[in-house]
């Protein structure tokens, strides 16, 4: 064993370990944006290739309907994430400051940005014909 002059003593078992999923929470909202992007772009290709038909009682295009559904699922997901981080904004560990509080605030910021970005990329679905 090395003699560790002035080294703080600690045991790995005593400390909160970094969890891969927990560590990625700050980017969960942006990951949802990536998912929205991939599903909308991929869904457009699949929808146009499969020539989806519209529901008879709707006046809209079938592909538009399908893409709008995909988009809304992601908007709802992003809203849920944002609500979660907003609800926890005053709970520990954020109110204790430090790195955990920093990550909580970062998460809230990125969740807010993510929902705005998801809404932004989906608006053209409502404005443009899908397959031309």
């Amino acid at each position: 064993m090395t003699d560790r002059h002035n080294t703080p003593s600690s045991r790995p078992s005593d400390r909160r370990r970094f969890r891969f999923g927990g560590g990625l929470r700050p980017v969960a909202g942006l990951a949802l944006w990536v998912s929205a992007f991939a599903f909308l772009y991929g869904g457009l290709s699949v929808g146009c290739r499969a020539a989806l038909s519209p529901a008879p009682w709707l006046s809209t295009d079938g592909v538009t309907l399908w893409l709008t559904g995909l988009w809304l699922v992601h908007v709802i997901g992003a809203a849920a994430l944002l609500y979660g981080s907003w609800r926890d904004r005053d709970a520990p560990p954020r109110n204790e400051g430090g790195a955990a509080g920093f990550l909580e605030r970062l998460t809230l910021t990125l969740d807010g940005i993510a929902i705005a970005a998801i809404v932004a990329i989906g608006v053209p679905i409502l404005l443009l014909p899908p397959c031309s």
Partner: protein
């Protein structure tokens, strides 16, 4: 015989000079011919920087040749083939062999010093990355010297780069050389992420990390996700060129657009991979000269993350003219405009920092001002290009050439030159010349704008890029002449800059310890920096520790800090908790080793044999490389005989005795890159299925479902066996552990066998893109199962070795991570290969 400083008491009372000598003896790299065994991060970082500088100079000379050719209409200075080779090599050298390796070099050199560590997490991997980079670059330069340089443009569009239109080995040289260099980048990415997250000074919480570390952390993550699509594209194109497997050839079910997608999935994030570390340098330098902490730390971190993620949603804006539906174009157009917002946030944070501080005008600030101006101009034309109608008008014209040079020169060259001046005293102990530096700045800044501002105009006038000559009378002559004059003025500025740096590195005024008055930790050490960085590791309680404790450097040199004592012959640094920066264990790092150099040379043999189509030699090269990697793994930690007694268990343990060691991080991150390659392969498979003409194929795979079921069971069995072995380890159940390894091995073998049988039932791979992509998917799993078997064999053998008893848990954990990945990807491949023919009617 023990050294005078071998006991703890003697070390504690050692003078700073004696401490310095002892630590230098422990950490310095070998000299003479043995220097190839160097692994210290300072040496490797400097090698990256110097090698990238040489590639930059070669690329710069090529740029001068291009501008000499285009200065007048109808110039006969270069023929078209030579011109094609030159512009291809200019782009290739600057993008792949200069920009990224230069920034990696800076990151490797600086990060441990900024983070309060003594080295990076994988010193040998860093050395291997360097040798791979050098070999890849030499393959490309060698090709150029022999007149065999690639000539299809730096993005190698198919079908131009295919065997039909680019016979010979020119395109192969690009594919092999770049893939080699990209392996280097991924190794560096793995090393940088692990180091930033785990090897920091005690107390350096995430929110106290220097912003440069955040930038590099995000960039390294982008490398892991951004580079694999191009590696995959290069492999597929090489398979098509060498073996006739169709991926991009329309007649046999391929599609050239697949190459464009794979290339730009890499190519657009690449721009931000280049920009972000440079912006990190800016965020480090501006607070120093503003005499004020960075404004908006959290907003900058959020911007970096947003920029990184959004950059992966832009790639199709390079493909707006290829016939993609308008709605899809709008997704990418919006994302392209969105990305300007986080860039703007960073700019406002820099301006606010200068506004709130008391700026001092020193030489690096001149280049930072140049950066602010040039990059904003490039960013604005970027927003213009994000607009689909405008993009259609200027696509493939000199407007795009001007835009990308404004972005890359503004976003990289100016911050880089500022950084060279800023950290030159740190590397050399001497100051640059303010006068020469100022002259070189104005020549570069003026020359650059004279060269590239008019190019927007030639582009708007319709001048296409990549033409070796143009007729007179189109209104392009005078503008091109002005551009060429500007480019030569810029070249003079660059020459003056290099002269200044190299001359004053030897004869410049000696610098003080912290000549710019910076707050970051890298200045808390003597200059030039010692090989061990810190005699003792600092305790950090602020983002700018040197502003809070100006005398910190002296304290550390005197041994007042963590890990002040050392074990003779053992290189150590501290590992900390990722979030709160509390020390968790001591990482023991390897010393000089010939293994990285030897492994890189064996890898080079493999690549060169593939290049010259000597496939038997390639197999030998791969076998030697694999053997060396196994020996490398075998030796890792083998000399650690430490036994932990109960009395010692509340002090910091060596990394070989705790979970979450660097090896686990390394394998996890490498598999992240690997998984991205797999995802890109799946994307290619589905893309061809949905989009490519000449589908469906004449025949689908014809194999009994029993083989698919058998392969699935085997994959799960291998995963289960690896898990069982790991669970048995801490309980000391050796027989159960060995049974687990055996089950894992049997499962892995069965998986490889079933996949090989399924592959044999596929239509011939040369017939159609369906068969080719199916074969690659199945081959991917077979290869990974084979590597997994080697993994398990090593962990099993090390478990039996008395030398490695303390490492068995880690070995088994690594094997489990690998087999879990193999099993999941195998199940996906089986579902896709078996299921897709049934959804064919959807087309």
């Amino acid at each position: 015989m023990s050294s005078p400083l071998s006991t703890a008491d003697a070390q504690r009372s050692a003078s700073p000079i004696a401490r310095h000598r002892a630590l230098e003896a422990l950490w310095r790299d070998p000299t003479g011919w043995r220097c190839v065994a160097a692994v210290n991060h300072s040496t490797i970082g400097r090698r990256f920087i110097l090698t990238a500088l040489i590639f930059f100079l070669v690329g710069g000379v090529l740029a001068m040749l291009i501008r000499a050719q285009l200065a007048t209409s109808g110039a006969g200075f270069l023929d078209s083939e030579t011109y094609n080779q030159i512009f291809t090599m200019h782009g290739t050298l600057m993008m792949f062999l200069f920009a990224i390796p230069m920034l990696e070099g800076f990151a490797m050199y600086l990060l441990p010093k900024m983070l309060g560590a003594r080295d990076l997490a994988y010193p040998r991997l860093g050395a291997y990355a360097y040798w791979c980079y050098l070999c890849g670059g030499l393959i490309l330069l060698g090709g150029m010297a022999l007149g065999l340089a690639p000539s299809s443009g730096w993005f190698m569009y198919t079908p131009l780069s295919g065997a039909q239109y680019s016979p010979g080995i020119n395109a192969d040289i690009w594919l092999i050389g770049i893939t080699f260099a990209e392996i280097s980048a991924i190794c560096a990415g793995v090393e940088l992420i692990t180091s930033i997250l785990t090897l920091r000074a005690p107390g350096m919480r995430l929110d106290r990390m220097p912003l440069f570390a955040w930038y590099v952390l995000v960039t390294a993550g982008m490398i892991l996700i951004g580079f694999p699509p191009l590696i995959l594209g290069s492999i597929l194109l090489e398979l098509e060129r060498a073996f006739g497997l169709p991926f991009f050839e329309v007649a046999r079910g391929g599609d050239p657009l697949l190459w464009q997608h794979l290339f730009w999935m890499f190519g657009h994030p690449e721009v931000y991979i280049i920009f972000l570390p440079a912006a990190g340098m800016v965020s480090t330098m501006i607070p120093t000269f503003a005499r004020h902490p960075m404004v908006g730390y959290r907003w900058i971190v959020a911007s970096i993350v947003l920029l990184a993620v959004a950059s992966f949603g832009l790639w199709v804006h390079h493909m707006f003219t290829v016939g993609i539906p308008h709605l899809a174009q709008s997704f990418f157009s919006i994302a392209s405009m969105l990305v300007a917002i986080p860039t703007g946030v960073q700019f406002f944070a820099w301006i606010a920092t200068l506004w709130m501080g008391k700026p001092v005008w020193r030489l690096p600030m001149l280049y930072l001002a140049g950066f602010l101006f040039v990059f904003v101009a490039g960013g604005l034309t970027g927003v213009m290009l994000a607009l689909v109608p405008f993009n259609w008008q200027v696509h493939d014209t000199h407007f795009v050439v001007a835009h990308m040079h404004y972005v890359l020169t503004g976003g990289l060259l100016f911050p880089l030159f500022a950084a060279v001046y800023y950290w030159m005293p740190h590397m050399t102990g001497r100051m640059p010349s303010e006068r020469l530096g100022t002259w070189s700045f104005w020549l570069i800044f003026g020359g650059f704008n004279v060269a590239f501002l008019p190019m927007h105009l030639t582009g708007l006038l319709g001048m296409p890029r990549r033409v070796f000559a143009y007729p007179e009378g189109l209104g392009w002559d005078t503008i091109n002449m002005v551009s060429s004059i500007g480019s030569f003025v810029m070249a003079m500025g660059v020459a003056l800059f290099i002269l200044d740096v190299f001359v004053h590195a030897r004869i410049g005024r000696l610098s003080s310890r912290n000549p710019w008055g910076a707050g970051t930790l890298e200045w808390a050490m003597p200059t030039p920096a010692p090989s061990y960085n810190f005699a003792a590791l600092p305790a950090v309680d602020d983002r700018d520790p040197l502003w809070r404790t100006p005398g910190l450097g002296g304290d550390l040199a005197g041994g007042r800090g963590a890990l002040a004592n050392w074990t003779p012959g053992v290189r150590e640094t501290l590992a900390v908790d990722i979030v709160d920066g509390e020390p968790t264990h001591v990482v023991r790092l390897p010393g000089p080793s010939f293994m990285p150099f030897a492994a890189a040379m064996a890898t080079a043999v493999f690549f060169l044999c593939v290049l010259f189509k000597l496939y038997a030699g390639a197999i030998v090269g791969a076998a030697i490389a694999l053997t060396l990697f196994v020996v490398w793994a075998w030796r890792t930690g083998a000399d650690d005989r430490t036994r932990i007694t109960p009395e010692q268990s509340d002090t910091l343990l060596p990394h070989t005795h705790v979970s979450g060691t660097p090896g686990v991080w390394g394998v996890g991150l490498a598999l992240t890159a690997n998984g991205t390659l797999f995802a890109a392969l799946l994307f290619g498979y589905v893309f061809l299925w949905l989009i490519a003409p000449n589908w469906p194929p004449a025949a689908f795979i014809d194999m009994s479902p029993a083989w698919f079921a058998g392969a699935a069971v085997a994959a799960v069995l291998a995963w289960f066996g690896a898990g069982r072995a790991l669970r048995a380890e801490p309980r000391g159940r050796i027989a159960t552990r060995e049974q687990g390894v055996l089950v894992c091995g049997v499962g892995g073998l069965a998986l490889a066998g079933c996949m090989a049988v399924i592959l044999a039932g596929a239509p011939p791979a040369r017939e159609h893109a369906y068969a080719a992509t199916t074969s690659v998917l199945l081959g991917y799993i077979i290869l990974h199962a084979a590597i997994g078997l080697v993994f398990s064999a090593v962990s099993w053998r090390r478990g039996r070795s008395t030398q490695h008893v303390v490492l068995t848990g880690t070995d088994l954990r690594l094997a489990l991570i690998w087999w879990r990945y193999v099993a999941i990807t195998a199940l996906i491949v089986l579902a896709v290969v078996a299921g897709m023919p049934h959804v064919e009617p959807l087309r």
